[in-house]
């Protein structure tokens, strides 16, 4: 067994390795000028970061305490610290695994000349996502959000000869950088009023720094952070960029954006609402925290209902899936706003399931779109039987997102329903209504593509890598569903333990980090 201290020193490499491979790609491209070499370099970078995230996940489950990495060995409130608890380790593992499969899918999907740019931006995005998930410093979170953001804007504009992707990318870039600028303002306020940017240090300072001026500052920080994260996650009322930006990108990038990049806002909210402010009990701070969580729940509920309704009227298959992302992020915001152990448990499991299923759904739809040369759902009818692997993947992912019992979506929705019902029955019923409306759209997608009568001619595709990826992802989804549904012990050992560590045992967690970092 490897010592946790050894694993801690690997944490910093998780965001660093994709960034290093990204910067090395242009040199390799200039030397080789070969698509296969560039993509194998991309895949080796993503494989390395996946291996590190597996190691980190093993490390967090081997000890009771979170893993702490000090960048450059600097002490905590001044230096940047990476704090990996079980919640972030599981999310990091799922994210890097999905990124690896998206990279593999891209080998068969990206056929034009701009592939080195694609590889650089994908690796940059991987570095940003892993950084957001692992960081324990709220300013470093801003930097990593921007790294993720800049590469996402550029990836949405990847088809630079196509006007729709340029304009959607610009819309995304304007609204995204507005959000991160507001978050920077929140960080300025945080530092000037509390003198720290570290999550755990902030939580201890909240216990004894109290004054009316600080209450206003805390309120402003929470509002600005929630607004910025809701923009990043595409939650109502900041969802309007998402249905334009996600379909305009190449299909693997749509899978990346819908599956992983929108989760960065959710992870940021977790770090602000759970890790940074756990120490608050009552008082003005307590009511501000409760109100922020309530605002997240209300925004999430509205997002779920609007997403479900707008999803139903779409004809473009990629826009339909993008609206499904708006709906699902609404559920996740409702779950994270509960501020309870069950809420966090449901959020974590739902996030894993949604990341895998949404990536699979986008990538299987991408095969049909490439084959038929159109994104109109009615024209894609009946193609499922022509491409059996993609058809199976589409069936598995739509049924998962709709919540059919043996698949993981069922358990995720059940956990979320229970958590929301504890909070308030009204929210739980809103979730059920949105879910029922969403089911109609998923079934429409399922029946049209798999059981419809073909109306257009299709071309034969040589999508070897894509087939492997889709088959692998379908198997992973089915295995995850069966293992967690029929083995409750497994659920409580992995997902339950992670949420217990971040909610019930949070004091022990914070004391450990405080001791390790020798905070005042």
């Amino acid at each position: 067994m490897i010592e946790p201290q050894v694993i801690e020193s690997f944490i910093g490499l998780a965001p660093f390795i994709p960034a290093f491979f990204g910067f090395a790609t242009p040199v390799l491209y200039l030397a080789a000028r070969n698509k296969l070499i560039v993509f194998s370099f991309l895949l080796s970078g993503l494989t390395l970061s996946t291996m590190i995230s597996i190691l980190v996940a093993i490390g967090t489950y081997a000890t009771e305490n979170p893993l702490v990495f000090k960048a450059g060995g600097w002490p905590a409130p001044i230096g940047i610290v990476y704090i990996v608890d079980r919640f972030s380790a599981v999310l990091g593992l799922v994210s890097s695994f999905t990124l690896l499969l998206i990279g593999l899918y891209s080998v068969s999907y990206i056929v034009d000349d701009a592939y080195p740019w694609y590889a650089i931006l994908l690796l940059g995005n991987a570095a940003g996502i892993l950084g957001v998930i692992y960081t324990g410093d709220l300013f470093n979170l801003f930097v990593m959000l921007e790294v993720t953001g800049v590469s996402s804007y550029a990836l949405v504009m990847y088809y630079r000869h196509r006007a729709d992707s340029i304009v959607s990318g610009l819309k995304y870039a304007f609204i995204g950088s507005l959000g991160t600028t507001l978050y920077l303002l929140a960080m300025g306020l945080l530092y000037s009023y509390y003198g720290t940017l570290n999550t755990i240090d902030f939580s201890y300072k909240l216990q004894y720094i109290t004054s009316p001026a600080h209450a206003y500052a805390f309120g402003a920080i929470m509002i600005l952070a929630l607004w910025a994260f809701s923009i990043k996650s595409g939650v109502f009322p900041n969802h309007f960029w998402l249905p334009d930006a996600h379909p305009a990108a190449p299909t693997p990038i749509s899978a990346l954006l819908s599956g992983l990049v929108v989760k960065t806002g959710l992870v940021g909210l977790y770090k602000v609402l759970y890790i940074s402010t756990w120490s608050i009990s009552g008082g003005v701070y307590g009511s501000i925290r409760e109100l922020t969580a309530l605002a997240a729940i209300i925004m999430g509920a509205l997002s779920a209902v609007f997403g479900a309704l707008l999803m139903f009227i779409q004809r473009d298959v990629k826009r339909l899936i993008a609206y499904s992302t708006v709906m699902n992020l609404g559920y996740l915001f409702m779950g994270i706003g509960c501020l309870t152990r069950s809420g966090l448990e449901a959020t974590l499991y739902y996030t894993i399931v949604h990341s895998l299923a949404k990536a699979t759904l986008f990538m299987s739809a991408g095969v049909f779109i490439k084959a038929a040369g159109t994104r109109d759902l009615d024209k894609l009818a009946g193609l499922g039987s022509r491409y059996p692997v993609a058809g199976i993947a589409l069936a598995v992912s739509t049924l998962t997102l709709a919540g059919a019992p043996p698949l993981p979506g069922f358990l995720a929705k059940l956990l979320l329903y229970e958590a929301l019902f504890e909070k308030s029955p009204v929210i739980a019923i809103t979730m059920i209504i949105a879910s029922a409306i969403g089911l109609l759209s998923y079934m429409r997608l399922f029946y049209t593509i798999l059981l419809g009568v073909p109306v257009v001619s299709w071309k034969q595709l040589d999508f070897k890598c894509a087939k492997i990826v889709l088959l692998l992802l379908s198997i992973v989804i089915i295995v995850v569903g069966i293992v967690f549904l029929f083995n409750p012990d497994f659920l409580s050992k992995i997902i339950g333990a992670a949420s217990t560590q971040s909610t019930i045992n949070i004091e022990k967690y914070a004391e450990y980090v405080k001791g390790t970092l020798r905070l005042p």
Partner: protein
């Protein structure tokens, strides 16, 4: 008195700047003007962060710790600005440069494709485009 007036003036100017630039980003018609509004907003926020670390006490010394014996430490703490907000601003400027360059490229490309930088007309031009992928 004068100090309080200056503080309020700076905060008021920053607030006004932020409001105008957010209006420009949301309701501006020209994409170029939207980009200019975005740079104004990010500069406003950066000035606000610098202002957060500013500490007025004459004589002002640079925030460089020289006296290791300890006699100069108290003087430094009383008379130097906090360097950390400046480090944050430096990071913010570098990131802002990347985002602004990317958006500027996007606007040029949009102009090449649609022959206009008016956000609404660009959308109109594009609405008839058949999407195949």
């Amino acid at each position: 008195m004068l100090e309080a007036f200056t503080y309020i003036l700076i905060i008021a100017v920053l607030g006004l700047n932020a409001l105008v630039s957010i209006y420009g980003i949301v309701y501006g018609r020209s994409l170029v003007k939207k980009l200019i509004s975005l740079t104004i907003l990010s500069d406003t926020v950066l000035v606000a962060v610098i202002f957060a670390g500013f500490y007025y006490a004459y004589p002002i010394v640079p925030p460089v710790y020289q006296d290791l014996a300890g006699a100069g430490r108290e003087f430094l703490v009383k008379h130097a600005s906090d360097p950390l907000p400046q480090a944050l601003v430096l990071t913010g400027i570098v990131i802002g440069l990347a985002v602004n360059a990317l958006i500027a490229f996007g606007i040029i490309q949009a102009y090449r494709l649609a022959k206009t930088t008016d956000a609404r007309k660009v959308v109109e031009v594009l609405s008839g485009v058949e999407v195949t992928e």
